[in-house]
């Protein structure tokens, strides 16, 4: 018997390593060739249609209005500026959506676990209804059926100084007067003080075991100090109240119906998914943990906060991240009801006007890619912070 470790039939092609190498070279060649083929077609097509590539169109005037803009924007501004406006709109709606969806999700998830039969049933109905209806349909519903059915400006619903009508939700617009800098200074001071308070409380608890309600009292510190500075400066805020006239509303701040519809649809829809994640996370914590906490003499809310929640969070965070990513990506559906976010402005109007398909679509994909990446980086950091430290 020979003591060869390789099989006798060791031709070149029978070696696993060689085969893997050949397969990969072929694959790479295919990818490169496909890329080259598509790219050369693209070049030929663009030449035929007389489209020049590049982002030089960014410096040309856009010539279209954008209804919702948080920075100065007029039709005379460039495409580049329009892109930034749209980018901000996407960020704003994603961020607010994530915050609202988390709040709704936590409340509904806890409600579904409630011992109260009626509350649990209602939460179940909410979750199962919203999860199983397409988001676009829900957005259309809010925009075309609910918000469009609101009265005209002159018949607005009024709550205190708020107005609600077809054109959106109007609220008083705070305008800062002289001396407002002092209030901002006071607010920052109170923030520093409350952070100091929390650090002190934590250190003291580690050292002596004595517990101090740091979060509630720091809330008090922030409100109190800011209020004192407001009083010292003589309340330097004036409110520009919305006034309704026959056909329109003047003054005040407005949340346009497009914005409200997208925000409501996104946050209620994603909230239903988050509710299920929260519920699953809490159920995943072994009942023995709760019993152990009780036998140590912890009160119910402390059991929840110190024992159940930290363990549930470990299960909750990874799927929560993907829900946040979904929400950010789903904000692109706002394009369908003319909320001027990235897809509507860049892939819609800009693409139609300039014909720069490659640049606009590529740019949008890049932006969504980086948005997704940054959310997942942040959530991974948070997940690592919360995860079990194994020894």
């Amino acid at each position: 018997m020979s003591d060869k470790t390789t099989p006798s039939n060791n031709s070149f092609l029978n070696d696993a390593g060689n085969r893997a190498l050949i397969f990969q070279i072929l694959l790479l060649a295919m990818v490169v060739f496909a890329g080259y083929y598509l790219f050369s077609n693209l070049q030929a097509n663009l030449d035929n249609r007389g489209i020049s590539t590049g982002f030089s169109f960014f410096n040309e005037p856009a010539g279209f209005p954008i209804l919702i803009h948080l920075i100065e924007y007029t039709e005379a501004n460039t495409y580049g500026r329009a892109f930034v406006v749209a980018l901000i709109n996407t960020f704003v709606i994603s961020l607010l959506g994530i915050i609202l969806a988390t709040i709704i999700g936590v409340i509904m998830g806890l409600a579904r676990l409630s011992k109260n039969w009626l509350v649990a049933r209602l939460a179940t109905v909410y979750i199962e209804t919203l999860r199983n209806i397409p988001l676009l349909l829900q957005m259309f519903f809010w925009y075309f059926a609910v918000l469009a059915a609101l009265p005209a400006p002159r018949n607005s619903y009024e709550f205190a100084d708020f107005l609600l009508n077809k054109r959106g939700i109007y609220s008083p617009n705070p305008i800062s007067q002289d001396g407002f800098g002092l209030v901002i200074f006071g607010f920052i001071l109170s923030l520093v003080a409350s952070i100091g308070l929390i650090i002190w409380a934590k250190k003291r608890q580690t050292r002596t075991g004595l517990w101090f309600p740091a979060y509630w009292s720091s809330l008090g510190v922030i409100v109190g100090i800011t209020f004192i500075f407001l009083a010292i400066a003589g309340f330097p805020i004036e409110f520009d109240l919305p006034q309704k006239s026959r056909f329109n509303v003047t003054g005040g701040m407005v949340l346009p119906p497009e914005f409200v519809a997208v925000l409501v649809a996104l946050s209620t829809y994603t909230g239903a998914f988050i509710a299920e994640i929260v519920r699953a996370g809490i159920l995943s914590v072994n009942w023995g943990q709760t019993e152990a906490a009780r036998s140590l003499g912890l009160r119910d809310n402390l059991t929840q906060r110190l024992i159940v929640l930290p363990q549930a969070l470990r299960v909750i965070i990874p799927p929560l991240t993907s829900q946040y990513l979904n929400l950010a990506k789903n904000s692109s559906l706002g394009a369908a009801i003319a909320y001027p976010e990235l897809v509507a402005v860049v892939m819609g109007t800009t693409l139609n006007q300039t014909g720069q398909a490659i640049e606009t679509i590529g740019l949008c994909m890049l932006v969504y890619g980086s948005l997704s990446l940054s959310i997942s980086v942040f959530m991974n950091w948070y997940n690592n912070k919360m995860s079990l430290i194994e020894r």
């Binding site: 209602l122 199983n132 988001l135």
Partner: protein
Amino acid sequence: MAIIFKPSPSLPPPSTSVGAVAWVRQNLFSSPLNIFLTFFSLYIVYLLLPPVIEWALIDATWEGSSKAACTAGGACWAFIGVYFDQFMYGLYPEAETWRINLAVILLVVMVGAFAIKTINKLYLSIAIIVVYPIVAYFLFAGGVFGLEEVETSLWGGLFLTVLLGVIGIVASFPLGIVLALGRRSEMPIAKSVCVVFIETIRAVPLITILFMASVMIPLFLPEGLNFNKLLRVLIGITLFSAAYMAEVVRGGLQAIPKGQYEAADAMGLTYWQSMILVILPQALKLVIPGIVNSFIALFKDTTLVYIVGMFDFLGRIQAANHDSNWLGTTVEGYAFAALIYWIICFGMSRYSMSLERKLETGHKRN
């Protein structure tokens, strides 16, 4: 004399601990907070339920030919009745809709045939996967055997929605498996190609892919070679869903214990033999619920084709809402669409849950 201990019969439990009263006390009024929550929930139900029932059922109008017929003040379901065919088949010629119905019946019969014990399941699967799509295509598109040709631009309504969803999921399934295997492969180039593809697709919204499919694909193809919009959108949907499918399948592959891979190697199976005969059958069984869930997600996402100008179910509802004969029936249209989508999606999610229980063979590690 011995004293015989004779216990008196137990009393029935107090009425406060069994029966309806006890249930209500325990579940609705166990603490002040619960009492408050119960009344709060009752108030919400009171606010929502009676007006909705009154609107949708009691005051509703079921028949009529225009909005003017709806005078009862409630829902105008006559609108749905008039537009029903369009919602189901889009602009498909009315005389030809039997072809769609026939294809659906055919599919139901074929899938139903799985229940017959004596039938050869392999042949049946091949018939469904290979023969049926060809038959269905010729039924839908026509142009052969004297069937009138129907352009794909006329396809629409719920028919198009189901078509997009089913083709998207079926076509993305093999692609997703290949991508998942590639991602788990030890070959660096194969692995990175798969990872880049999956992560790129997953990082962007479906709508950008659809725009890409409808606007950019023509730019990437040589002059003269072009195919219709439905096919382009289908390619976009398939690639999109394949990336998600790959992640679902990868979850299943990772759940298979290493011993199974090693055992397959020890038996002398080649890579593909071990995958097809040993690993994938176990892995795919594990992820069936995940596959159904991604089908539900894809089914809901097919509504997005409306944004690139195709009139699926939701698109037809939107279009019908602009009919001047039926102004003010927006809510009815959306309610109908929501009901249909809800029934399909909720039904599938329940089905996936029952499947999960049925396939549970006790190997689950807790």
